[in-house]
């Protein structure tokens, strides 16, 4: 397999390691890592808290089972160095106090090696201090908060692009392609929305912004008609949105209702067509449906689900079909599979003698070389715990997204640069056995 990326050498080596999964599986009987919490010679116990019930459950509850699908695949093929991954994901209903309790349960009772894929800024920041003092890695938090890369919390790692990075890349696109047009913002009044707006504001001239509307996720009970009316009366031609999928739908519906069709530019968080489309089916007896999404601009750091020719999408489909029965292929499950696979890469890189520090080392020193479905490499280093730091801009047509820009990488405050590398391919063993 030829890799033209600047990291091709390492990636090649990684492929070899990956291929070793199945073979090494049974071979490693004993291990000296019995002293590491959550690790025995035959098992690795990890956990997470995610919302499985309550208002945040729609959509988000699909992620953890998709993460686990990867682990099930790994376990079915012998595990990582003979160790099967035991993934305990508990419901916290997006309530930080519950997260605090459940994470203690995971650490003290279940003795997890690490939390992998805990979801949400409020719940996960609530346990960030605890996990760090307990020296339990908080890996790949499902949130784009900038707080995961913080020297105070060396055990925390983000994964998805942070919200400011998303905002910057989409802001640049607006600046370049909608110069002079009036721009309105619609954002969730929390860390997500505010981080995204911070990114937008770095790129879009303040004079261009005519209205800033927000909504509160905790009181989202119906259409965002008021916000939409305000954006319309301000004459916003472009509406940049930091919205969760439900809010995207609840904004697009009343807008269509009053015949307001601005150019939508939506954060990847709330722009996944298979997730948002069905929410729009209520528009005029379901006829219009996802037509409302046509022309929507968003950003993506994973390949589009609709691109069934993409080998990562094919692998993801196969994994879901076999190990997460009944789950649809959408933004949530694709996200879960990619995240789960990232962790498997980390385990493999950490090697046979798995300890907390070997795991952390693997991510900090080699994370940038992990083979993942991401369009950009992970940027992990000893000083950077963000994860993906870039994306491409995509446009939705007929329920599918297609890129309309090259892939960009950036940081919170640095310049936006073109990414010239090539996306990695799934290792052959994954492609063939999944």
């Amino acid at each position: 397999m030829r890799m033209r990326s600047s990291r091709s050498r390492r990636a090649g080596a990684m492929t070899a390691v990956v291929s070793a999964v199945a073979m090494l599986g049974a071979a490693c009987g004993s291990s000296s890592s019995a002293s590491t919490r959550g690790v025995t010679s035959s098992t690795i116990t990890i956990g997470a808290t995610v919302p499985l019930t309550g208002p945040a459950a729609p959509g988000y509850s699909e992620i953890a089972p998709a993460v686990n699908a990867v682990f099930k695949w790994v376990n079915a093929h012998g595990g990582v160095y003979g160790r099967k991954i035991h993934y305990i994901y508990l419901d916290d209903a997006y309530n930080p106090s519950t997260t605090v309790t459940k994470v203690r349960q995971l650490v003290l009772q279940d003795k997890i090696l690490a939390e992998v894929g805990g979801l949400g800024t409020p719940p996960q920041t609530a346990v960030q201090g605890y996990l760090n003092t307990q020296k339990v890695p908080q890996l790949f938090v499902e949130s784009g908060c900038t707080c995961w890369s913080d020297a105070k919390y060396p055990y925390s790692f983000g994964w998805q692009p942070n919200y400011t990075v998303e905002g910057k890349i989409l802001g640049q696109y607006i600046k370049q392609h909608f110069a002079g047009e009036k721009v309105g913002y619609l954002f969730q009044a929390d860390d997500f929305g505010e981080g995204f707006v911070k990114g937008l504001d770095q790129e879009i001239p303040a004079s261009q912004v005519v209205s800033r509307q927000s909504y509160d996720a905790a009181t989202l009970a119906g259409p965002l008609s008021n916000q939409i009316a305000a954006l319309k009366s301000a004459g916003a031609q472009v509406v940049a949105m930091a919205t969760i999928p439900a809010a995207t739908a609840l904004a697009l519906l009343p807008a269509a209702s009053i015949g307001y069709f601005p150019q939508y530019v939506v954060s990847s968080v709330g722009a996944d067509p298979p997730t948002v489309g069905p929410l729009l089916s209520s528009f005029s007896k379901g006829k219009a449906g996802s037509v409302l999404l046509n022309g929507m601009i968003s950003n993506a750091y994973l390949p589009p689900e609709a691109d069934t020719g993409n080998p990562w999408i094919q692998v993801t489909q196969k994994l879901l079909k076999q190990y997460d029965v009944g789950a649809p292929l959408d933004g949530n499950t694709e996200f879960g599979v990619a995240l789960g696979y990232t962790f498997v890469q980390a385990l493999q890189t950490a090697g046979k003698h798995l300890t907390t520090s070997s795991l952390m080392d693997a991510i900090e020193k080699h994370g940038a070389d992990f083979i993942t479905p991401g369009l950009v490499p992970l940027t992990y280093s000893t000083t950077d715990h963000y994860g993906y730091s870039g994306s491409e801009v995509v446009k939705t047509e007929n329920g599918a997204t297609a890129p309309v820009s090259p892939v960009y990488v950036t940081s919170n405050t640095g310049p936006i640069t073109l990414y010239t590398g090539t996306p990695s391919q799934p290792p052959s063993n994954l492609a063939s056995t999944a």
């Binding site: 499985l52 019930t53 309790t101 409020p122 920041t125 860390d191 905790a218």
Partner: protein, 373 residues
């Protein structure tokens, strides 16, 4: 309260204050033995139970003794928690004073809510407190520069002395405070003020005629109850070292009332049962449903199903709550051991557990004025 109905054979001191002291000392010894035998995580949960017992006990007095309902105790907890965290952020005080500040702030809110509440009947009061439970925490979202927004405020956690497990230390402090709170409430309930609260609950007009200041009694009950909630909120902040609005969803307030009635309204032992239910029931039901090999998403929903069923079943089988059921059981066991003439037993069980004899209403008076929840 709890001891009042037990047969005198237990030979507790008759003087209420003394009796409460003896009971509390017993409870503390029991908790000590419990905590040293439990794992760190279970100690943490004991602490959680104790902090929930504080707020539920306050609620039990408000509703069970004084007849006022609150679906907004989550908001009082939020005020306590945020006050605690803010005080800690801006000034350096001993822990006790920080806790007192939390109590004071929530008590003040209790006063503000309690005054309009005096004129409201049950469901109207329920409506008012419910919307407050939803609205008040949102203020912290609105003014997130003060209240820390999504990442919240981060009060420092308890520092355990020496080799004591921090969770065990947390359990000890919380249980100690909770037992003190419950003992104080028990004395309050036995006091003049307690009699006034009951009189107001039973009949406001009669209470007024008996010279009780009805409004003042109701407001004060609200203040006391809100103070307990604020203290519990501060301990919640201590327990996780973080305070965010998400900690105080509407469902929290509703769960608190449910737990209070589940334990037994008006009882001060009942709140501990209610707190155990809040802390353990979701966990037990999740593990039960995952034992059946169900996926987590289904298991999580089944946990809701089981929690809902438990609420329904307990209310139908034990109308006076778990504590009522326990008392009934204890009486039966004691009666079996020390048989007494049936006449003394007074009432006969009709279905499930006996109730105190319903106030006999030989005239038609009650029908026009049916009481309300």
């Amino acid at each position: 309260m709890a001891a009042a109905r037990l047969p005198s054979r237990l030979r507790l001191p008759d003087q209420p204050m003394l009796r409460h002291l003896v009971l509390c000392a017993g409870a503390l010894v029991l908790f000590y033995v419990l905590t040293v035998n439990l794992s760190s995580y279970h100690n943490y949960q004991v602490g959680l139970i104790a902090l929930f017992a504080m707020v539920i006990a306050g609620l039990s007095v408000l509703t069970g003794i004084n007849g006022q309902i609150s679906l907004g105790h989550g908001a009082f907890m939020a005020v306590g928690a945020y006050t605690f965290a803010l005080v800690q952020e801006h000034v350096t005080l001993p822990l006790a004073l920080e806790l007192l500040a939390a109590v004071a702030a929530s008590a003040v809110l209790g006063l503000v809510v309690g005054i309009p509440a005096t004129r409201l009947r049950g469901p109207y009061l329920a409506g008012m407190t419910l919307i407050l439970a939803l609205g008040l925490p949102q203020l912290a979202d609105k003014y997130n520069s003060v209240f820390g927004g999504d990442e919240g405020l981060h009060p420092s956690q308890l520092v355990a002395p020496g080799a004591v497990d921090p969770n065990r230390w947390f359990a000890w402090i919380t249980v100690l405070v909770a037992v003190i709170v419950v003992a104080l409430l028990a004395n309050l309930v036995r006091s003049h003020f307690g009699r006034a609260m009951r009189a107001v609950r039973d009949n406001e007009v009669a209470a007024m005629l008996a010279g009780i200041h009805v409004g003042r009694t109701k407001v004060l009950a609200f203040v006391v109850s809100a103070g307990c909630a604020g203290l519990a909120g501060a301990f919640l902040a201590l327990s996780g070292g973080v305070v965010t609005t998400g900690d105080f969803p509407l469902s929290l307030s509703i769960y608190l009332v449910a737990a209070m009635v589940l334990g037994g309204a008006g009882s001060l032992v009942g709140p501990w049962w209610g707190a155990i239910a809040i802390v353990y029931l979701p966990q037990w039901s999740t593990s039960i449903s995952s034992d059946f090999g169900l996926g987590s998403a289904v298991a999580a929903n089944l946990a809701l199903v089981i929690f809902g069923l438990v609420l329904i079943i307990v209310m139908m089988l034990a109308p006076t709550g778990v504590q009522g059921g326990v008392r009934w059981l204890a009486r039966r066991l004691l009666a079996a051991r020390f048989p007494r003439p049936p006449a003394a037993a007074g009432v006969t069980a009709v279905a499930g557990f006996p109730e105190p004899p319903a106030p006999a209403t030989p005239d038609m008076r009650t029908e026009q004025e049916r009481t309300h929840p």
